[in-house]
Symmetry: D4
Subunit: 248 residues, 8 copies
Amino acid sequence: MNKEEIKELLESVKDNKLNVDEALEKLEDLPFKDLGFAKIDNHREIRVGYPEVIYCEGKTVEQVRDIVKFMLTKNNNILGTRANEEMYNAVKEICKEAKYNKLGRTITIRKNEQPLTENYIAIVAAGTSDLPVVEEAFETASILGNRVEKITDVGVAGIHRLFSKLDVIRGAKVVIVIAGMEGALASVVGGLVDKPVIAVPTSVGYGANFGGIAALLSMLNSCASGVSVVNIDNGFGAAYNASIINKL
Amino acid sequence: MNKEEIKELLESVKDNKLNVDEALEKLEDLPFKDLGFAKIDNHREIRVGYPEVIYCEGKTVEQVRDIVKFMLTKNNNILGTRANEEMYNAVKEICKEAKYNKLGRTITIRKNEQPLTENYIAIVAAGTSDLPVVEEAFETASILGNRVEKITDVGVAGIHRLFSKLDVIRGAKVVIVIAGMEGALASVVGGLVDKPVIAVPTSVGYGANFGGIAALLSMLNSCASGVSVVNIDNGFGAAYNASIINKL
Amino acid sequence: MNKEEIKELLESVKDNKLNVDEALEKLEDLPFKDLGFAKIDNHREIRVGYPEVIYCEGKTVEQVRDIVKFMLTKNNNILGTRANEEMYNAVKEICKEAKYNKLGRTITIRKNEQPLTENYIAIVAAGTSDLPVVEEAFETASILGNRVEKITDVGVAGIHRLFSKLDVIRGAKVVIVIAGMEGALASVVGGLVDKPVIAVPTSVGYGANFGGIAALLSMLNSCASGVSVVNIDNGFGAAYNASIINKL
Amino acid sequence: MNKEEIKELLESVKDNKLNVDEALEKLEDLPFKDLGFAKIDNHREIRVGYPEVIYCEGKTVEQVRDIVKFMLTKNNNILGTRANEEMYNAVKEICKEAKYNKLGRTITIRKNEQPLTENYIAIVAAGTSDLPVVEEAFETASILGNRVEKITDVGVAGIHRLFSKLDVIRGAKVVIVIAGMEGALASVVGGLVDKPVIAVPTSVGYGANFGGIAALLSMLNSCASGVSVVNIDNGFGAAYNASIINKL
Amino acid sequence: MNKEEIKELLESVKDNKLNVDEALEKLEDLPFKDLGFAKIDNHREIRVGYPEVIYCEGKTVEQVRDIVKFMLTKNNNILGTRANEEMYNAVKEICKEAKYNKLGRTITIRKNEQPLTENYIAIVAAGTSDLPVVEEAFETASILGNRVEKITDVGVAGIHRLFSKLDVIRGAKVVIVIAGMEGALASVVGGLVDKPVIAVPTSVGYGANFGGIAALLSMLNSCASGVSVVNIDNGFGAAYNASIINKL
Amino acid sequence: MNKEEIKELLESVKDNKLNVDEALEKLEDLPFKDLGFAKIDNHREIRVGYPEVIYCEGKTVEQVRDIVKFMLTKNNNILGTRANEEMYNAVKEICKEAKYNKLGRTITIRKNEQPLTENYIAIVAAGTSDLPVVEEAFETASILGNRVEKITDVGVAGIHRLFSKLDVIRGAKVVIVIAGMEGALASVVGGLVDKPVIAVPTSVGYGANFGGIAALLSMLNSCASGVSVVNIDNGFGAAYNASIINKL
Amino acid sequence: MNKEEIKELLESVKDNKLNVDEALEKLEDLPFKDLGFAKIDNHREIRVGYPEVIYCEGKTVEQVRDIVKFMLTKNNNILGTRANEEMYNAVKEICKEAKYNKLGRTITIRKNEQPLTENYIAIVAAGTSDLPVVEEAFETASILGNRVEKITDVGVAGIHRLFSKLDVIRGAKVVIVIAGMEGALASVVGGLVDKPVIAVPTSVGYGANFGGIAALLSMLNSCASGVSVVNIDNGFGAAYNASIINKL
Amino acid sequence: MNKEEIKELLESVKDNKLNVDEALEKLEDLPFKDLGFAKIDNHREIRVGYPEVIYCEGKTVEQVRDIVKFMLTKNNNILGTRANEEMYNAVKEICKEAKYNKLGRTITIRKNEQPLTENYIAIVAAGTSDLPVVEEAFETASILGNRVEKITDVGVAGIHRLFSKLDVIRGAKVVIVIAGMEGALASVVGGLVDKPVIAVPTSVGYGANFGGIAALLSMLNSCASGVSVVNIDNGFGAAYNASIINKL
């Protein structure tokens, strides 16, 4: 309710077109409505066309099934992340269209097919062990309506493989780089493209890797400009971010 | 030089339109040219219209002055970050147009005025102690040709001040959030806008802040989707990143 | 035994109303009695009306049952924290009134109903994953005799939900804020109330969350004054603390 | 502006006692006013009777003097924390009543003497090296209008000294415990009183103390219930917190 | 073999009482023998009267049994630490006298009863959760031939319990203090006795305890002189150390 | 393809000795070929005579079997590291010559026996718990064609055992030192030999060992020159490194 | 005052040999006196013959001088640690016998010469950079009345130098080992002697030494039994500890 | 002195060719001589042809000058690392040939020119800020008698610059890679050469670089085999190591 609308309301009161109680009711939740909270995009309350998202880790199979059940009543697309197979089976019983990406641990339900973007997001990954994060990012970006190109197994230890895919990487509007171990791929890609690069450190590695800290610090300290970073293994976050940029 | 162009060149040689030595010269730097390295945007080798950038920290006054002297021969805009006043004075002697942002510790030289973007970058900051990082980001974004809006002193401890600026924040194409201490501002802003948010933790704080680690971890773990993070105090990196997105 | 009482005792000896051996016995444990240790409130030795408390983690089922058995002889209320279901079943066999809060992992036995406080403690929590800590705090505060209001799922990513509950939060005498991930809720609530805020970081999150360190540091560095912090996941401690304040 | 007041306003409009533009103006800032933000107590915007507070660290002498100058126009009490002597001298030039606590590094200006609370806050400290934090807490609590008792040099290495002061500690409504090195004092005091204990780790120590981390972790893990913790060296925060509780 | 002995040997050669080959043989292992390595006390090669020690963690049941089998041939006492029950059962099959301390996870075999020391080692522990470390220390000290007094459940949260046992603690020649959580007990005991105190941090605790780091740092930073520290949960090391001191 | 060769090719085109399409084909992969990527030795694409290597951790049994199946078509030697027995059994079904080192968790398949080097690599290890890393290093060095000498159980607590093996250690061309706990062995060996020493910290230990960090830091800070370090438990990397040096 | 004495006192009251007020006075401070606090040895209140100790770091020159002035009235020996030269000069003005150890940064004043112990403490140090800690330990041990032998520059990189001093090390009743960098010396010495070893990590080193953490962790994880550890650079603590043991 | 020589000595004694006292003298230092300690190469006692090395950090100007003075008597080459200019000036006064490398902070004195190796060490560095470490490594490698090639400013953000120097890097016998920030250069170079790579993390960077930890972890986790790591900023250690390898 903007200034004009409030003025109009006040004039209706003045002109007795609207009684005081009705006006009061309309004004009452003004603080929130007018702050435009209905426009907020977040993990749970996402605008039309966007999927509903459930972070399944730490929830019981029953909880996941019940949340999906409720979501289904709203006829939106649905994305469940960090879901195990048992959760998927429970969901499948109440919704046959549900798909499971075993590697990416995502459940997806598509109620509304939407056209994909013309631009695409490139998902570039270092090693085969990073694939679970790649798949989580892929499923997220896809159900958010983005065209996606995956370029995997192009770690810097064999840098010619990366170069042979440079065209497809450079053609993207935004690039997600996923790497564990020392995470050097983010810097190398960041030095080769002039698009925003979102780096995802993965917990792949051992010893002084410390569950992804080595890659995380590496990416935060990237000598290449244009690289920003999300949490360790956060394929969902990277893809969500990339989707916002891809649709600008 | 793509496949077609190489073919054309070879045919010119065959048809004697081009002699071998000329062809050789063109092919010689193929490995680098064709990999497109000339297009690479990084801290030092930036394409036409972009400023040349010097990271002054750890350099001597003489080194900074000499680098600037050399850069001036190329007639580009110049940005020096993390520069102290002594460096600025040395630069000013060889270039009168040089400007110094004392808070942001930047030296800027504008040789080519370029039109600003229509879209703007919003730089949102928590406290007055974060201003040095705000100014570094501001100068960087500006000389990269972006329109910028600064919204400062809107930390979450007095959240109504943030709300009174929500319109200008939401109007941006990309938002930079700069905060020290616990860095909560990034999550709050991330929950209120549907634009990409680049979060910059600052080293402002004491005790268990650990030089910015508290804010860094806070931002990496943001419960709001759409937030990515750069290094502690890295105003330059955030602005560089934001500029790429703002110009998409 | 205060100065007056010792004097009285000495006079009784002098007047032969008390023989030396009886007096000796009474004085013998003076060092401890007079230091007032009987007034000490701690985890195990709590004054009249307070529940007896068992921290069950790391104990065997038999140990928990035996401790409860002994406590039952004293007819006090009993609170077992970090208890699993097996422990509960063992306890139930010896005490039918025992109740189990599965989420909060608490066993409670109420032998003496006491009137609740007029003031209430508000327990404010960010996400559904924080509920186990919420429930531990709730059960602790309740059995300590406090009226409690729970306000859950009001994380900062959707800040309007928090605002819609502001009245009930502000009405409390003391506020417990429970949040994982980046823990920003503590700062936001701390900025909105003028009551003591006890923040509980939870281990909810992944990657650079480091089992709750991100939220812990965030809360320790809160830009809002009036926030103090307890250990990660320590719902019991927060409620115990809040109870002391609520009863001042 | 509560429901009743809005109703009244609407009726005034209806009855032509108030014209639409005037009503509009009053409603316009409803979102902020009615959320009660004016009641918010934080570091900068504190309600009547409370001092204005400046965190001086990282500010220039000029900035501190200018902020104080502005504050003086509002005739409130003023507290400057982490202030050096140079800042004090600059402030003294514009306000003769300004007092400086050299150890606590605080500047205080009292424009309105207010009666002290009946209850008192006990500030208990381990060693003489912790005195700067003690003094910061003392000045903060005092200018917030609290009666304060200081009990210093009662570290656990000579525990009888602590016991000889137990009465005055137990007489307080809320206790602040300040300790560096291993911070054991918080646990010992926490086990001896049944009042809220706010623990402040200090950066006093060397080697594996890590600037206060040893004491911080010690206090967070206190085996005594009823202890909550603020940031390292944060005497201001502890006293602010204690003041809220002391005035409940 | 000292100087005198070598001289004697040489003279025997000179006098033909010893032939060259025999002398050579005796001199050959001079480098090691004379450095006195045979006197070295370590985990595996311990002098007469000392038990043979096996650190069982990370070994298979078969390996443990085989090592014990071999040790039995030497007729020494045997101590196995960090042993599980399965290991014990395997050992028992080959040696009926083997005893198992379930809490302390030690296997002990006594082939030679030796008289206990007159002086005793006091093992002081904070809580019941620290008992496994207490038992490991107890079994180690005992089989090394020391008289031991255990004083448990005397954590600082209820400090009067500690005081009631002060006499027995002060009567020891050396004191082992075992505590988890914040480890404050080491400082308090260190301030009350004038004997060497060996502090053992335990991994008991949760959250910001970080598996014993809180107690470890606390003990290293003890404000009481006379406290030295061993590794987290290292009951064996503390007792071994205490035994050396107790037998001085 | 160097300058001369390109010139020659162009002249062949000019002289019609080579048609344009053929020339194009040769030039096409110039960027990569000429950068000499075919010469690159890395974990996956190793030159003739070298084994193919699979890092099995995090892969499924099926994936490991399928990769081996494919590798077998190339008739190279094969090394699988971090393989469990189930993987080995699956591999054995498709290749009878496959051998499993249970301790080192390696699968090896030898299709081409190659002569061992004359020089040898010495693998020196502190304790029996370090044997898994010793065996991984041993198998790696062996299948890479190196002669290897193992010297185990020579930890510094019984330093005479190390000295008795000094000759064989000093006779090596390169020395690998493997140690957990405090990792002191690397410094001691580094002070006794004048050959390159590659130190491998192991995760053996407990408490403040932090999964190998103690040994890692110890080795990085070695007071003996000539010591370089690889990741915790990285027997493969150390042996790969040593092999390169041994074959120089 | 023991049981017998209290009984006697009560009987005196009964028999009118002592009036009630006198008896009361004697009983009044029973809690502290009887707990024997007068016997407590700590940093400040040390029994007859022991020096008074001041930790000078963080104190002003005036404070140090004033404390010494007061101590001089008690005619005890005095030890000031972490003192700079300015402090020494101020002390010298009021006490000519004051001595300064520049390297060890100690001030010592000997009022009562006491005979040295027969047994000696061996102080073994790795490098010349560790000498400041060596000297602090030496001065502390000496003024506490111990005979001391210093064995320096025997780091493990040249282990024969250590061996040439083995006799003097083994002859000590207790051994202090001081080492920075990787701290391996503690383990090596621990393996060569059968006396208690107190290890002092020093902050000597750079890079991944982290101000002494590398040596600290190394020593805590020592593979040699019989090693306990004090705080980084804590020469005083080690010597204080060693003195207690040496005098047992 | 080997077995044969001892036998000969004994026989000389037997045959009265050598008297007992002479024989005794020869045998006396057998333990050390025969262990071959004279062969040990370490920082201080290096064999003929090697320079004497002084680590100057933490030493006074006088100490450095005196050590050099003593070393000059032995007529060896001398290398001083981490030396400041004042130290150099003091050294120059006693030795005119002394040279100072200001960037690398080394003092070098060449008394014996030795021929350089045929093979060379390649020193590859990321940025200009890494030059101090490059120069320390360069001076060390040079005075140890190695031919060295420096390839600087080839960070991965502009990877084509690295490729243009690939030939000279691949031509080396051993490669030192020096990089700060994220240290990705080590992995990229490690993937491009088949020579041993010694990686040196530098403390260049800011924020989450943590003084070189980011680069250190990155290098330890390198996805390229054949990379080993030395301490942060340890140019000396890397060069010393490389020299050993280069001379194999």
